[in-house]
Symmetry: C2
Subunit: 198 residues, 2 copies
């Protein structure tokens, strides 16, 4: 999980709750450009496990959103680090405006993706060659899973667990978290609520 | 927000995402028995802002669940600290097995409350004089809001925001998080799924 100053709490910890429920099958590492800690936009700070430069090999890379993405899309060393991690990781996901960061690497060009529905114009402007999907809870395209805003990362993560471990495991995780999984990637009432579709 | 070694990630950060969306109206503080950091059961660690002993005056106290509650219910100094914070705070909430901790303080005696539906027998055994509710997404009783497992803390937090700030604010927060709020405290399919009701 990538973190930075001003990450959105649930973008990070919704997905990590779901993956963490796989217990010993998963090891979670928090990655940032600097060692130490990273404060969320809400206030609470998390401990950084590895810098980008010393990140271990990853099976899944997740890029969250949050107000900090507005700064990081214009930070060439941050974008270069995420680009390198994305290239070497077999499954790459984003939550909310995390897709703006992924888009800025150029690696989403030609791929379908979605993003937060309230920050849609800004996020999509970071990747004019991405095939943005206006109405989707999440979008899968090859190695990329991109979700809509904040809580959508939970539904997307369960779909990614289904892809990696199987449907039964995803259902067990949702049950363990007493979470009613929105299993339909096309169910997205927030596209309409934000005037992106009629 | 109370934290301890082995807290459950979403029990903490689901509610804090919702309260954090109130922006400048809220200041979030992470409380623990020791300064430094506290590691979740999933791995990621959070920074502790204040020890229990130097906690500021609070409007809302939230106690999360997680495997660590199994240890803390038998830790007299932890229970005494939570008891003291609960007595001096006007609104007190728990998520998942956090209600076992609250029950152990004795302050829930005679009150209605709910808890995680998979750990129901263990959690309820920590407070035999609590009026436990088997089927509920969350339960409100006076100053106490107790939720069912993990993701239920999000729905309960929105109800608490409704109580404290108003319905419009709660709906705006849910919308901002692209979250379909389960507004019905009695909607709890997990009670049946775990054999607690027919």
């Amino acid at each position: 999980m990538v973190v930075f100053e001003g990450f959105e709490l649930l973008d990070v910890f919704g997905p990590l709750e779901m993956f963490g429920m796989l217990r010993d099958r998963v090891r979670i590492v928090m990655l940032a450009d600097r060692a130490g800690q990273a404060a969320s936009s809400g206030g609470p700070a998390v401990v950084v496990d590895h810098t980008f430069a010393d990140a271990p090999a990853l099976d899944v890379l997740i890029v969250p959103g949050g107000m900090g993405t507005r700064r990081e899309v214009d930070n060439p060393s941050f974008i270069a680090a995420v680009r390198q991690l994305t290239q070497r990781t077999p499954h790459v996901a984003s939550v909310c405006t995390g897709s703006a960061v992924l888009a800025k690497t150029g690696l989403l060009d030609g791929h379908q993706a979605t993003t937060n529905k309230r920050a849609y114009q800004w996020a999509t402007s970071q990747g004019p060659n991405v095939r943005w999907v206006r109405q989707a809870r999440w979008v899968e395209d090859g190695k990329y899973f991109t979700s809509s805003g904040v809580s959508a990362g939970i539904d997307m993560s369960l779909a990614l667990i289904e892809r990696l471990v199987g449907k039964e495991a995803a259902l067990q995780v949702a049950h363990g978290a007493e979470y009613e999984w929105n299993e339909d990637p096309d169910h997205d009432p927030f596209a309409k609520a934000n005037g992106l579709v009629d």
